[in-house]
Amino acid sequence: MTHDIAINGDNAVALAWRQIDPDVCAAYPITPQTIIVEKFAEYVANGEVSTEFVCVESEHSALTLCTASASAGARTFTATASQGLAYMWEMLPITAAMRVPLIMAVANRAVSGPININNDHGDAMSARDCGWIQLFSENVQQAYDNSIIAPRIAEHPEVQLPCLVNLDGFILTHAIERMTMVETADVKQFVGEHKPLYPLLDVKHPLSHGNMDGPDFYYPHKYQSVLGMEKAMEVTEQVFKEFADLTGREYHLVDEYLCDDAEFVAIILGSSFGTMKETVDQLRAEGIKAGCAMPHLYRPWPEAALAKIMKGKKAVAVFDKHLSIGAYGPMFPEVVTAAVDLDAVPKMYNVIYGLGGADATVAGFKKAMEDINAGKAPKITYLGVKS
């Protein structure tokens, strides 16, 4: 039994957490993540969850406390955004290296400076190289669904890696959308009981977590994480399939829209995937055979699935909501790398858009796509920027 509700993205994440009922949650408030922890705190106050909820004094302590808690053997969740994730940064690779299946929702927001509270992907991209699994959400439904899916991937015995669930700040966190919820009993059954590997608080079998590695062990330990990440790709596909069986909602490593017969495709993340779908519809109405795709799983990077989509295309436009100043958007070189082994490499374009909440409109996307289709676009376009 399922039913539809009207809910914003933050509350949808909190709802998923309530249904999962984690052992521990520690968090620090930051816009636009706050609604998640406020709502969850309300569940705690009213006894709707059994979670130990800790209001820490900083994000650094939030991720620290959660990492130790997960190491101890508790199913542990947290949430943050922007500067909060930046403040956690020291801990991000430590959490991953300790191989704890911690879940963190990130309400994607621009990173200072200048200070800006609106959406882009600067925060998630700064976590890109830290060894975390990352899922992106196109809409509120996916923010909710990803929150239920994430523990299954992270906690898999051969994965054992932390997972970020990204949802665009304000665009998803604060927008009320219609969403189909999963019944709590089904969520509990789907996520299952937490079975921690090597929990620290097994006092009869004392373990040391977080030891110092010399060169002989640091590199091999990093390589073990590579193997865990590779496994995560396989596990994600399997969990998506099980989730589709439960809910009818199908997700893929890379979600596609009209890519099969497209002559050129856009690759884009998050809520803008919806905007791009509408753009593709309008382009097709004009006879331009466009398509678009979103890496639903961003880490591990679904290179093979992307290469398959790009095969035989004339051009690929990579839309990045972040920028490595002096180079490209962070996703562009990775998509190019995924394309280089194709027999015919499509013409590759990078479009930077939406930084710090700058408008990401169908009209803007359409203009960029038309220019690319006409071969008039430069290699990198700073869409809509006023210089």
Partner: protein, 315 residues
């Protein structure tokens, strides 16, 4: 509380094994072993980055025969709080049966400086955990740089004794008093030369229904420049000169203990701070005539803090 006979204490499990890589004469393992004798319950240990951490857990080895975790430098209190929170969650669900105690060991840099925020937060939130500062009065692990625990006049690699300055120019932060101001159930200062006092205080800390903080003077032969067989004598001298008073604050009530109580009662004479400065290479430049005002200032500050403690203990 554990029994205080050496015979009984010897029966407790060896939680920190010998064979670790701390320097000869380091006080940190001595203090840790005394602290860990404070309860017969299982203990989960966390450590902030520092000498103690790197010396006891170089992979694939560990000196810990009890659950141990390290994450980073400035977050030992949050790490320990994470264990305690998980314990509370799993205990109420029946997934953990034992009564477990929690302690974080950290150096003075990890306590007075980079970890102060996380420590303050954990104390305010009331986690049932002990935080032990192994206070050797500088960043010894990185090569003897000054911290806010470093004493005035100490020469370190970032506060040199030079022609223009007499080593560190500032008095140390009074961290123990900052912890008292958090109104936690138990705060104490200890010294490893008096194992009975330290084990007693550790017992009280572990028994407290809330956070406890223990600040331990930890003589460092390398950083303080004294022979490595003088560690315990150095710790004793810190107490005898009132540079490091032994005291505790139980639910806000101050009490001097052991030698410090006897000095306050007039049963033992308080030694001049010059004895302390004379004993260590880090202070040797202070014996030059031109730094005499600095020695006077140090004696003045030691006296001021000591007199204040006596008054507080009389309350």
């Amino acid at each position: 509380m554990t029994s205080l006979s050496l015979k009984e204490l010897n029966k407790l499990p060896v939680r920190l094994a010998s064979g670790h890589r701390l320097c000869a004469g380091c006080a940190e393992s001595i203090i840790a072993k005394q602290i860990l004798m404070g309860t017969a319950d299982p203990i989960a240990v966390s450590a902030s980055t520092g000498c103690f951490e790197v010396s006891t857990t170089i992979f694939p080895y560990t000196s810990w025969n009890t659950p141990y975790i390290h994450t980073a430098f400035g977050n030992g209190a949050a790490t320990c709080a994470g264990l305690e929170t998980a314990y509370n969650a799993l205990k109420k669900k029946g997934k953990i049966k034992e009564d477990i105690k929690f302690v974080n060991f950290a150096g003075d840099g990890a306590t007075y400086d980079i970890g102060l925020q996380a420590l303050s937060g954990a104390m305010e939130r009331g986690h049932r955990m002990m935080y032990v500062c192994l206070n050797n009065e500088a960043y010894m692990n990185t090569g003897i740089q000054r911290s806010s625990a470093t004493a005035m006049g100490a020469s370190t690699t970032t506060s040199w004794a030079g022609t223009l300055q007499p080593g560190k120019k500032e008095f140390s932060k009074d961290m123990t008093e900052i912890m008292v101001a958090h109104n936690i159930p138990y705060v104490a200062q200890v010294s490893p030369h008096n194992w009975r006092d330290t084990v007693t205080k550790a017992s009280k800390g572990f028994a407290a229904d809330g956070p406890s903080f223990i600040n331990a003077i930890s003589p460092c032969p390398r950083g303080w420049r004294f022979p490595s067989d003088e560690t315990i004598n150095m710790a004793r001298l810190a107490v005898e000169t009132c540079v490091w008073p032994l005291y505790e604050v139980v639910d806000g009530k101050y009490a001097l203990t052991a030698e410090s109580a006897r000095i306050a009662d007039g049963k033992v004479e308080k030694k001049p701070v010059l004895d302390w400065l004379n004993s260590q290479g880090r202070f040797k430049h202070l014996l030059q005539d031109k730094w005499e005002p600095v020695v006077e200032a140090i004696q003045g500050e030691v006296d001021r803090r000591w007199e204040r403690l006596i008054k507080l203990s009389d309350l």
